[in-house]
Structure formats: structure tokens, C-alpha cells
Amino acid sequence: MAPRKTSKKAMKTKQSSRKSPLSKSRSTSEPDWGSIKTADEYNDRVLEGVDDEEVDSDIDCFDSEDELMYGSLFTSRGGDSDDDEGDSDDSDASDDSDDEDEEEEEDMLDMLAALDKKTNSHRKEEATSHATLKPSEFSSTTTTASEKLTMDSLLNPLASTSSNFASIRSSMQSLDSTKTTHALQSTVVTDRASRKLAYEASSKDVSNWMETVKANREAETLDFRPKNRAKVTTNSLVNKFTPDNDFERQIQEALEGAGASDERKMVEAEEALAAGNVKGGGGDDDDADFDDDLGSNTNLTLEEFKKRHGQLAKMRSLLFYEERKRHQINKIKSKKYRKIRKKQNEREAGKEMELLRSSDPELARELDEQEATKRMKERMTLAHKNTSKWARQQLRRGNIDTDTRKALSKQVAIGDKLRAKQMGEGGGEDDGDSSGEEGEDEDERLKRKAREVLEGVEGDDERDERENHKSGLFKLAFMQKGIETQREKAKREAMELLEELERGEGGGDEGGEDYDDEEDEEEEEEEEEEGEKRKGERTTIVGEGIEIDLDDDDDDDENIDKNDSDENDDAGKKVAGSMKRKAAEPKDGGFDIASNPWMGDGKADKKGKKKKGKKEVDGSIVDLDKGISMIVGDDSDSVDMTAQGHGSDSDSDGGDEGGKRGLEKLSQSELVERAFAAPADMEDEFKKEKQAMIEKDDPSRKAAEDDNVQGWGSWTGAGVRKPKKRKKLSKKLEAPKVKKAKRADDKLPTVIINEKRMKKMSKFKVASVPYPFTSAEQYERSMAGPVGADWQTTQTVINMTRPEILKKAGRIINPIGKMAKKKNDKRKARF
């Protein structure tokens, strides 16, 4: 407290020299004690609302210390005038009012105090001058220059008055050491300094709002709606309800009459009823609410009750037993058990049916009909499963004629299709079912399938042969060869599979093995025979094919000519041979189908392909490769006709080499490249187009044209002298050459970029990135995504379209509140 006190004193002394406008005006009305009182009051005002406690304490200490000395002054002030009352009121008011500003003000006060401290030493002389006249630091009197002032002379009188001034004296002693005093600085300078400090302080103070202000600025929405609005609940509605019309009043009365309005009554009534219920029939019978399983509301004797209870218990236990049983049965997974069970069920059903027939023939007939229709439906649906009796018989017989096989394979095909569909929809649950139905082992099934393949292959051959006779193109040797190799491969695999399976079974099933062996031998024999047969056929066919081919070809192909000169038969044989070789080493010829980018679908229209094929006979290698791939990847009955080109080509290359090269050496990328290679003239066309575009858009072109207009500005007609040649302007006067404009596609030889401004598009283009955004991406992101209810959920739309300021009509918005001002704590703003 000590330093504060000294500073205060200094301030007070300061007032005498520094004339505030306030004190000036006051002094006119109260000349007697104005100098003292205004100074005091000014101090209070300076501190007004700043630090009330501080001020109060200051006043107190002043009183205690100096009342003795200035008591008379204070008493005289007490009942002086109206103005004085106003003064005191004011100071009181100010004390009361600015409670809130205490803290902020403290800083400023400190600063002001510090300022005064600075100037303290300068005013020391003046301060001391008062003391000489009277032991008071408040009275302003002048001192004569002749008297030499010393600290002792000032302090000595104090010593006699009271011991309370000991502290002041001690502090004064420290000042005694400073010897020189400086002249007073002008008020202009000091005031400016104080203003500067005050400005800094209030700037700093006002910055405390910044956090809230910034948050408000950045907020997407400012909500000025009232915060604590009462929510309407059912309870509040019920409590506030007052009947308005007669109807409501009647209901209200009725309810009150029944005591329903009184909640306590209700509760009591309920309790009473509950008690009656516990007694077991003692209560009123009318109340249906308390009816339960045991029928407590009926009047039962004890015996009856016990009996009924026993029955119910038995029923319950039986139900439970049944449930457990069912549960157990459901858990059994054995197929044998199921089979037995099924048989049993069937038998039982049969018996029941018999009974029914005798007892109720009509119902039985109905049931029979139902059964029949069900069966029909099943047959309809099961037609594709090859599990019908007929199908099984045919399969068991083994030696199947082509028609039957066709029908069977059709059924299988349909089945496969359906299964695929089911797999696509409902997962693979059907597989297990079918296997379960057939009751076959996995091995058996595989074996059967392999056998089917073997049989099928033979059958297919026969059928194909028939078809080949029909279509001329199948007569070609290489075609035949291709088909042959594929078929053989499939057969071999099937054989291997069968062998493997049988080996796996071992000697356990000798009969089966025997049968299989026999069959195998037979098959092999058959194959050999057929192969020979086919060979013979093929040679002839090949000869024919080439002939036709060459006939079609009018082109002057050297190799073909040479081929022509050769013996047809020889050539055919040669091809056949090569193809045979190929078949012997299938890995060479049969490249991976899956990796082939032009894997044909094999269902192309034959006629269309035929024409295409003819055209492409002399075409590029690409087409040939395609043809090959088609053959390899195809089923027997549909082969791309472009393949014939390959035949001729491989021939012309002098054997199989070219074809092989096409298959083996070309990488995937090369193949793709070839496929999409544009013809050479297209490139030229593109270049021309680009050049035309460049010239059209070039601004320098126009300038050049304008310059070279012939005869411009000269006379024409007979006898007119030839116009003078235009003077060439000096370089300085020449118009600046229009530079050739840079184009975006200058360095992109394969691209044309149209740089013309599109008028229609300009409507939707922004010239530059708009202000708050810093990059085009940012702006784009802000534009992305629709806002409307057509694309967004309701809540999202509400969130996205919330207005910037939410306010309620007629609601007054007050200025930002004190709570929003934060020093350092991060409380939430309230407004």
C-alpha cells in the first residue's frame, strides 16, 4: 500500500499545477476551497469506476490521517450547497455503477500511476513548497525564491504533530539523497504522454473482444433467436388446460366426478383393485382387467382349481418335450437317417391316403389331383435335370443315338443356364441339393461326366461331319485340323481323368474297372478308325477348299500362283501334315485363349462372316491371327470364316512358319498396336486438318493479307500509268509485326485444340478465381455437390441452406455482451 499512497499524494500535488477544464469550471463557483476539494475529487474521478475498493480505502486513510488537520474543511463541506450534494451523489453513483470495469481499469490506473511517479521528482519542489506554509501537501501557495528549502525544514514540523508520519519521513529520507531537481515539463507534453499510454491500454483492452468477434465473423450462421424458449410438452398442456366450451366443461366435470382428475385418487383406486385381486376372487367380478390364465375372477372350488392346474402343467410339459424332440431331430444330418425317415413318411402318408380313400373318397380324389398337378409342375421344372427315368435309362444304356444325345445335351444346357442364374442370384446352395438328390459320390459324378464327354465327343464328331458336308468352308483342311486337335485334346483329358479316378478306386470295384477298361479300349479303337476316316476325307476337302479359294482370288499373289502351279493334292497333303504336326504338339499351337484380346464369342453370323472373309483374304496378318484364335477358342459349330485367309497366307509363306510366328512371337502390346493401327493416309489427313486450323486462327495471317492487296488505292483504266511501287517504310514507322500466336497444341502433334472462344460456354465460365477462394480447385470444391432436396436428405438440406443470420421477427438484438469479452479464459460467448 505504501507505494500507492505516495503516488496518490504525488498526483494530488500535481493537480495544483495542472489545470483540468473540470477544475477550472468548478473553481469559478467554489473559490474558497476549490483548490483542495477539486483536486481530491478529480482524483476520485480519475479513479472513478476503476478500482472502487482502492478509492474507498484511500479516502479512509486520508480521513484517519488528516482529519485532525482538515477536519474543519470537511465539516464545512458537509452541508454546503446543492451542488455539493450532487457531487457526492455522483461519486456514489459512479462507485456503484462501474463494478464491471474494475479489472480492466486496474491496468490503466497502474499506468497512470507510473506516469505520475515519473514526474514526481520534477514536482517535488512544488510539493515541498506547500509544506513550508502549512504542514499540508494540498495547499497551493507560492514560495519565495530566497528561502532555501531543505528536507529537514520540511520534515521537522511533522515530527512534532504525530507519530503517524514516521513512514512518510522514512520515505522522504530516501528522496533526500537526490540533490538536483529539473524544471517542469509542459502539460502539453505530459498530457500527450498520458494519452499515448491510455490509448495503448484501451487498445489492449478492446482486443479482448477479438476472440468472440472473430468467431462471429467466421460463423456460418449467427443465431439471434431467444435461447430459453419453453418447449410445449403434453404435461405442460395438461396442467394448463382450462375448458373453454360446454363440451369440454362437461367432460371435465365428468372426469372430476369420477375422481380421475385427481391423480392420487387414481393411484389409490388402482391399489385397492390390486389388493382385491390378490385375495383371489374377493373383489368385484366386473373388472376384466385382472383376468389371467388361472381365471381368478371365476368362482372355483379348491379341488377344481387344483385339477385345472394339473392339466395345464401336463400340457406345458408335453409341449416342451415335443419342442425338444423336434429340435433334436432337426439337428440330425445323416443322409441315411433322412432317407429312412423319408421312406417312413411316405409309407405313413400312403397309409393315410388309403384310409382317406375308404372314408372320404372325394377328398382323396382332390388330394390326388393336387398331387398330380404338383408332380406335373415338378416334371416341368425338372425336365432339364437329366434325372428323369427316360434320361437315366438312356444314359445307362450307353449307346445313344444322335437325336437322343442332342435332346439330352439340350436338357443339360438348359440346366446349366438355370443353375448359373441361380448361382448369380441365390448363391451356390443348389449344388448341394442336386448332389444330394442324385445321391452320388463326388468321384462317381466326375466319372460319369468324363464318360459323357468321351461319348459326346464322338457324337459331336459325327454330327460335325454331317454339317461339314453341308457347308463348304468346313471342307478346308486346316479347319478340320483345328477342330480335330481340339477334340482330341478334350478326349485325352477325359481319358486321363477317368483313368485317374479308377486308379484311385483301386481293385475294390473290379467289375466297374473291367467295364471301364473295355470301354476305353473300344473307344480307342473307334478313335483310331475315325481318325483315319477323317484324314481321308480331309485331304479331299482340303484340295477342294484351296481350289475354291484360289478361284475367288483374282489377285496376283505370287505365292498363290506358285501354289497353283503345284499339284493340288500335294498342297493339301502338305497342309494336312503340318496341321497334324501341330496337333501332335498342342502346346506350340494352342496358345492361351484367355490372354487373347480378340477371343471370339463363337456365335457370329456365318453369312456375314463369309463375305468379310472373302474380302480379307489378302488383308493384313492381324485378321489371320484373329481367324486362328477363333478356331482355337471356338466350339465346333461356329468358326470365323476369316480363317481362310490364314490358310492361304501360311501356304504362301511356305508352310506353317508364318502362322506360328503370328501366334507365338507377337506380344500382347504388339497385337493391340496392330489392331488399332490407323491407315497411313489418315495421319496425313490429320496433319492437314491441323495445319488448316492453325492458319485459320493465326492473327498474323490477316495482317499479311491486308498488306498484299493488289491495286489498292490506285487508278485503273486505259492509259493509266502504272502505279508506283509502294515505298517501303523505314523500320521505325513500320507497324509492329503481329507475332504468330502460341497454341496450346504446338507441342502435341497428335492433338488439335480448338482455341476459339465459345460464346455459349462463356456464360458458365468465371473469368478468374473469385475473391474468398485462393485456387481454382478450392472454388470447384465449393461448387461441387448439389444442395437441393432432390439430391440431399432433408437434414442435409436444412443444414446446408441455413441462413447466415437467424432471428425472430420483432426480437430485439442487443449489442455484444460483456460476457463475450475474454481476457485469457476461453469461456463461451453468450448472446
Binding site: R45, G49, D101, V206, S207, P786, P815
Partner: protein, 509 residues
């Protein structure tokens, strides 16, 4: 075979009463509603056009003054009372709900009424005039003319007392009143009826109203403002800025700093309540702190500032309206240059009023128009004018930030909507949603050329347009000249000057 059929829960889709909301199932998959951006763009264009179609900002004119309206003030705690002072010394109190003058005093001052403001308790208001007096008047309008009419309409609800009540009370009644106001706005009843005036002017026989208090001073007052919470008010006079207590006959503080300025405006800060700012005739803007009793800083602009208002939501910021047709936003901590220059007027800006949201302000100008600026935008959002409106001397926002009131040389006060296409009256929820969506779209696509052009398009009176063109020419000329100077001087010695840096001439501590 499984068949998946469309099924609908009947219970879910059956309404119990006709008032129930219909359950609507929507598929939000964008593939069913393609081209979303194109569609929304079209909607935005439509919204922009509709905005212009519905832009009808003028609500009503308050007639009654016999001379130009020189100053006005809206009540801070209530929506309805509105005070205005005329050049002839007349003071009127208006009820905005009924749009009638409910009180008036023809001889409130002898000479211009230069300042009017509401007291901190809302029960009285103050006027200051060139006749060197400040007068305090009672704001009790309940028992007179206009209010009585209302009573009849509103089931005998007594509202007269309300203005003397504390701020916190009577919120619901305010809302009701606002609704009433809206209804009237919808009906657009003419406000040309003869105002039923207060007890002062009902008849010639009645005595003129007497002020509660009056203060006499040595100098003429140019402006006054009341503290927002306490019983102090500040006046600007020819020589100084004075702070008065309501209970003292002499000013309690007087700021006569930086030489003898003739002050023309003084304003209390609404939030940081000890702060005071004034504009003086020597082109200066000065800040004071009444708590420390010191001045803080003064900055001098190129031309005189006619008006000053503190931002109610950002205590450090204020805007001044300048004689050079511009408004300048200042941060009191950085007085060396404005934070924003608001351009658009072609005459001196005479008055400014902040929206209570702190987001925008309105300015009235000598060019017979008022403009609404967003707090951080250089150009105005909207410009209002009518054929008959003359120089605008005062503008105010209502406390709910919905309406703007301007007082002008043609003796009229005018009520405008703060947002020109705002719907007055109750909006349905769907309507509101639709408006929100439209506004959002407008904001989203605001940079597209087509929409920008529609929004920006604003028909202006010939005078303003001509002036604008002239200003443009002048501006271009000045720019060209500066460019030439730069071109013909040593490289780097002269640089383009920045507009904001040119604004402030000097600062003084």
C-alpha cells in the same frame, strides 16, 4: 424361384388424420436426377430474377414534420418508439407499429434540433439543439391518441406503461406488435392520415409539453448521445466534447484536447461503454476514454467526417461517413488507415446507422439516396431512393434489424425494409425453406456472370447515374495521370499510391 416385389407397409403410409405429414419415399440416387449442377444453376438464375421482381423496399412514409428532419433515434429496448427532431426545433415521437406521431413538441428547441437519443432506462429521451440546451422528455405515450386506437383493436391490452418498464420484460408483447406491424404492411394501408398528436398539440388550448430536465450550456450543441447503460450523456459542442450526468447541471467531464475542435458528432460505444468517439470540423476523428478521463488518439482524414457509428457487435470497429462521398471503416487500434473504404454515394455521407446484427450498416447521403453496405464490402448491397426523397439527414436501423428509417429534407421520415425482397408477414415453413434454398443457391452461384449481372443491376436516378459516370471519368483520369507520372519518372522512385493509405492525413497522440 424367389420373386422380389415392391412392398409398402400400409400402416406406415396411412395417415391417422388429414393433418399428418405424408410419408414420401424418395430415391436420392443421382442417376434418377441427372445434371444437378445445370438444374441448380437454372434455379439460381430464377431466384436472382425473382429477387429483383420482389424487391419492394419502401414500406411507409411518416409525415408530420413541418421542416426538414435533422436527426432521429430509434429506441434501444423497444421496437415501436422512434424520435425525430426537425430543423425548425420540432421534436416528434412516432409509434412505428401504427406509423403515427404519438407525441410532438413544436417548440422543443429554438432552432435546429441537432441531437436526439433515448435514455438508458427507456423511459425518457433527450434532445439537444443549437439553442445551447439539452432537454429531457418523458417517453410516456400510452395514454394518448395513437395508442388508444390500438387498445380498441387489441382487446384492451394496456401497453402504455410498457416503455417505462425494464428491458427484460414484455418480449411477447413486442412480438405481437411486430406481427401487427407486419399485417399492416401487408395491407399497405396509407399512412397519410392526419397523425393524432400528443397532448401538446391536440388543441391550441393545451399547454406545450414541458421537459423533465433541461441543461443550459455556453456553446451550441451539434450532437448528443446517451450512455447505453448508465445515466450519462455526451454532447458535442463548438469547443469540446462534454460528458454529463443526468443529475448534474454542469458537465462532469470535458474533453478539449488537440486544440479547439468544433465537434459535430459524438457517439458512445455500445459494448465497450467507456469509449467515446467524436468527429470534428478540422477533419479529425478523436477517441476518448471516460473511465480514465483522457483523450486517446486523434486521426485526421482528407475531408471532414459528418457522422460516426460504432459497430454494436465489434466494439473495436466504427464507421465514419465522410464529406468525400465515402464511408470509412476503422479499427480503433489501427487508426493510420481504414480497414475498408465503402464507396457508392455521389454526395457527402450525412448519416450512418448500424444494423444490430453488426453485419451491415445503412448510410444516408446528400445525393438523396440511402445505401446499405455489408460491414466488409467495398460496394453497397442495395440503394434506396424515391422520387420525392431529398437530402437524407438521418438514417437508423430498428432494433430488430429488419427495417431502416430515413429522415430527409422533404420533412418526411421513411420506413424501408432492410432487405428489399423480404416478405413482410408470417411465412410458412415451406416458404421459408424455399427462400433459404434460393438464397443458398444465389450465394453459391453468385460469381457466375449471368447471376452477378442480375443481382448487381440496380436502376438509379438520372442524377446519381450521371454523377457516377462523371466520377468514373475523373477516376480514370487520375489513374492515367498517376500512371504517366510513374512512367516518366525514375524507375522505383514513384509507385502506385494505395487508396487506403491516402485516406489518413496524420495522427495525433
Amino acid at each position: 424361384m424367389k420373386i422380389k416385389a415392391l412392398s409398402r407397409n400400409v400402416e406406415k403410409h396411412t395417415r391417422e388424420t388429414s393433418g399428418d405429414i405424408k410419408v414420401v419415399s424418395r430415391n436420392l440416387d443421382p442417376k434418377y436426377k441427372p445434371m444437378e449442377r445445370a438444374r441448380e444453376y437454372t434455379r439460381a438464375v430464377q431466384a436472382a430474377k425473382l429477387q429483383k421482381v420482389f424487391a419492394k423496399p419502401f414500406v411507409a412514409a411518416l409525415e408530420g414534420h413541418m421542416d426538414a428532419v435533422s436527426c432521429s433515434a430509434a429506441s434501444r429496448g423497444h421496437l415501436c418508439p422512434f424520435m425525430s427532431g426537425g430543423v425548425d426545433g420540432e421534436v416528434r415521437v412516432w409509434d412505428l407499429a401504427s406509423r403515427k406521431a404519438v407525441w410532438s413538441c413544436k417548440t422543443a428547441h429554438s432552432g435546429w434540433v441537432k441531437g436526439v437519443c433515448i435514455g438508458s432506462d427507456g423511459g425518457s429521451f433527450f434532445t439537444a439543439g443549437l439553442d445551447k440546451t439539452v432537454k429531457q422528455w418523458k417517453l410516456g405515450v400510452g395514454e394518448i391518441g395513437g395508442r388508444e386506437e390500438k387498445k380498441g383493436k387489441k382487446k384492451g391490452k394496456v401497453k402504455g406503461k410498457r416503455y417505462e418498464d425494464d428491458d427484460s420484460e414484455g418480449e411477447s408483447s413486442e412480438e405481437e406488435e411486430e406481427e401487427e406491424e407486419e399485417q399492416r404492411g401487408m395491407k399497405s394501408t396509407s399512412s397519410a392520415e392526419a397523425p393524432s398528436l400528443g397532448y401538446g398539440n391536440n388543441s391550441n388550448m393545451a399547454p406545450a409539453p414541458t421537459p423533465i430536465n433541461s441543461w443550459l450550456f455556453d456553446n451550441a450543441f451539434k450532437s448528443m448521445d446517451h450512455h447505453w447503460k448508465e445515466e450519462f450523456f455526451a454532447t458535442a459542442s463548438d469547443e469540446s466534447v462534454e460528458v454529463w450526468s443526468e443529475h448534474r447541471s454542469n458537465p462532469i467531464q470535458s474533453y478539449k484536447l488537440w486544440g479547439n475542435d468544433s465537434c459535430n458528432v459524438v457517439r458512445y460505444n455500445p459494448a465497450e461503454r467507456g469509449l467515446l468517439a467524436h468527429c470534428s470540423s478540422d477533419r479529425g476523428i478523436g477517441l476518448h476514454d471516460t473511465r480514465g478521463g483522457t483523450g486517446l488518439k486523434k486521426t485526421v482524414l482528407r475531408m471532414r467526417s459528418n457522422c460516426l457509428e460504432w459497430n454494436p457487435m465489434e466494439p473495436m470497429n466504427f464507421v465514419v461517413g465522410n464529406e468525400d462521398h465515402n464511408c470509412y471503416s476503422f479499427d480503433m487500434r489501427k487508426l493510420d488507415q481504414p480497414t475498408m473504404i465503402h464507396k457508392g454515394h455521389v454526395g457527402a455521407v450525412l448519416s450512418i446507422g448500424w444494423s444490430s446484427t453488426g453485419r451491415e450498416f445503412v448510410s444516408g447521403s446528400y445525393d438523396r439516396s440511402i445505401r446499405i453496405f455489408q460491414s466488409r464490402a467495398g460496394t453497397s448491397r442495395d440503394c434506396y431512393y424515391t422520387k420525392r426523397m431529398q437530402r437524407v439527414f438521418c438514417v437508423n436501423y430498428t432494433a430488430d434489424a429488419r427495417f431502416v428509417i430515413s429522415g430527409s429534407d422533404d420533412t418526411n421520415l421513411r420506413i424501408w425494409k432492410a432487405k428489399s425482397n423480404d416478405k413482410i408477414g408470417q411465412t410458412k415453413i415451406r416458404e421459408e425453406k424455399s427462400m433459404n434454398y434460393k438464397n443458398k443457391l444465389l450465394k453459391k452461384f453468385s460469381h457466375m456472370p449471368e447471376i452477378r449481372n442480375i443481382v448487381k443491376q440496380n436502376n438509379l436516378p438520372k442524377f446519381i447515374k450521371k454523377q457516377n459516370n462523371m466520377k468514373m471519368v475523373q477516376k480514370e483520369g487520375a489513374k492515367r495521370k498517376e500512371g504517366n507520372v510513374i512512367k516518366h519518372s525514375k524507375k522505383g522512385s514513384v509507385e502506385w499510391s494505395k487508396e487506403r493509405e491516402k485516406t489518413v492525413v496524420r495522427k495525433m497522440d
